[in-house]
């Protein structure tokens, strides 16, 4: 008998409850998308106000770190999707491994990001420290915006790591042929990936090739 989640108030039927949980998670990530929508609106405004300065500031970004991170997150999303398929196929152990793999890649993302921040600090483009020396005032604004945007993203990514870990440790979730909890956590993780998919061209590609 496959493991099932328990029914709780006010639902009468487990299917309904599962549908409700998934819809709830989707609505929640919709709201998270709007949160980042505000960040993209700010980026759009800045780019439209100062197109040349924006692209030249973007040219100083660490393109390879950004690109590597994009590949890392895309692969991490793959593993989350594999975890869902594994749970649906009854392969609980693979589901667990895929979840851990997704989490590990998420941590790799954070490591690459930390390295990138460290290099930026050494170059003096992190606002605050005394060695801060930006080329121009807009460059300072761009870097500030970059830290806020990627910082907010990293915060969400970290929350996603916690969710992935909790789910990977949850025996009942791994054995659930409906993959309800894994599916919902994977939805959140894919949102983290989606946000980065759009942050990448915004921050890194605007000035590439200059």
């Amino acid at each position: 008998m496959p493991e099932q989640r328990e029914l709780h108030e006010p639902f009468h039927q487990r299917e309904r409850q599962e549908e409700a949980d998934r819809l709830g998670m989707l609505v929640f990530i919709g709201s998270e998308a709007m949160l980042f929508g505000g960040i993209f609106a700010a980026a759009l405004a800045l780019r439209l106000l100062h197109p040349h300065e924006f692209t030249s500031a973007s040219a100083h970004m660490k393109l390879w770190h950004g690109t590597a991170n994009t590949a890392v997150l895309l692969t991490s999303s793959l593993l989350a999707a594999i975890a869902v398929e594994a749970a649906r196929g009854g392969r609980a152990r693979w589901a667990g491994r895929a979840l851990w793999g997704a989490a590990a890649l998420g941590m790799l993302f954070l490591a690459i990001k930390a390295h990138e921040y460290w290099l930026e600090w050494r170059e003096g483009v992190v606002p605050g420290p005394p060695n801060a020396d930006f080329g121009s005032r807009f460059e300072q604004l761009f870097m500030n915006f970059y830290f806020v945007a990627t910082g907010l993203h990293a915060l969400h990514l970290t929350a996603g790591l916690v969710l992935l870990g909790i789910t990977a440790l949850n025996r009942r979730a791994r054995h659930d042929r409906g993959a309800v909890l894994i599916g919902n956590v994977a939805l959140y993780w894919h949102l983290v990936d989606l946000v980065w998919v759009f942050l990448y061209p915004t921050i890194y590609l605007a000035g590439a090739g200059r």
Partner: protein, 549 residues
Amino acid sequence: MSAAAIDAEREPEDVERTSYLRAGYSLRSWFFTTDHKRIAILYLFSISFFFAIGGIAAALIRLDLLTPGPDLLSNDGYNRAFSLHGIIMVWFFLIPSIPNTFGNFLIPLMIGARDLAFPRLNLLSWYIYIFAGLLTLLVVLGGGVDTGWTFYTPLTTMYANGMVVMAVVAVFISGFSTILTGLNFIVTIHKLRAPGMTWSRLPLFIWSHYAVSLIFVLATPVLAVTLLLLLAERVFGIGVFDPSLGGDPLLFQHLFWFYSHPAVYIMVLPALGVMSELITSAAHKQIFGYWFVAYASIAIAVIGFLVWGHHMFVSGQSIYASTVFSFLSLAVAVPSAIKVFNWTATLYKGDIDISAPLLFAMGFIVLFVAGGLTGLMLAMLAIDVHVHDTYFVVAHFHYIMVGGTVTAFFGALHYWWPKITGRMYNEMLARIAAITILVGFNLTFFPQYMLGYEGMPRRYHVYPPEFQVLHVLSSAGAGLLAVGYLMPLFYLVWSLFKGARASANPWGATGLEWTTSSPPPKHNFTEQPVVVRGPYHYPLKHPSSRDHA
């Protein structure tokens, strides 16, 4: 439906024994409840408390404005008074008022469910709201902020003293309460409707709350990120709103109003939903144009997201964008007008029972139309140049939010009071209160239209002496309004102890909430209701069988 009839005709002792009010007396049973009805009451107490605080701020404002000079408050003190008034009234009273009290209480009842989809999330919403409210009280005790509830940059980011960071954090946190509430409502309405409750059989109150929930979920996160950027600008000087670094102060206004304009629809849509219920019930008649009203709610929610630039006509926004926003702002009035026409047509040839809820509803229609028409005036670019940042705007939004939402709130409070408490209030006192409120309201706010048109700016407490007469009238009205708002406090509380016990359906109304006892049992219905008809299937029975004939 026979099961529901059994529910409504239960013995009073049985009703009382199983009532949700008696399912536990301990503090724990209230503060750790997951019952949507108890959470609604927790919210009712909390919003009443914040209404009082915001009302005290209003009293200070209106007292200061009795004289043209800065007699009561200093300039800075006055700025803090109106800022506090705005912040508390908007986020801690108006936005949660109808959805979190009546929405919470009634949505499961109206759709035939045992509770909301996520009961614990519902309780968490209340705790988040309370936490944010406590932070705001700390802000008040710490002297408040002088930034206005709109937190415009660069005042907030560069120049304002006072507890700006904590105020912004408090509002930021309160946003999560609303997002979770919206999420809960959306999932509940999709997934927990009783068998037979198709979308075409939903009460219009539910349609309105569904539309409001869309706004909760889609708009509030943008406020959150805007406030985060504001904090980052103030604390770290990131420069996104600072022209010297290449930023734009108007960007703050774009992001802020992208949320705050839909926020005013958050405040009015639930009131519109209440109105559909009060009008059909008082007229004992099917709503005229059910689908028009239902889709109008959705249209208001959608179009309401596209009009925010009308707050920025004179702030430096491109005139082409302003033209687009002006056109869309005119468009958004259409669904509201459709609703008003449909309510009027519903009343026409209805079998109308005069009652306190109906008085509130009629007052709502008049005041909402007045506020809406002045909104159309404000949407015209040329007029707005003249009256922007004057008392004309202040009057407009108070007509909608106070004349509209608060009036509907009181209408709802009276209408569903028997259901929530199991008691009837004193009808005569209620009618006196309703009329006092409506007279007091008009005396307070109509002179403000005139003041604004004559050029009295908003957020000023020093003004030319020729404006004093209108200000005195307005302040007198405010005093009368306060009396009107205090009256229900007395007779409603009195009714809890001495009021007549209410039957299941004292108004002779349709709706699943009236098929269960007053007050309902803990799980709302003793048997799962099954819906076979549309929501306003009047006439129910002979009028003489109504309690309230």
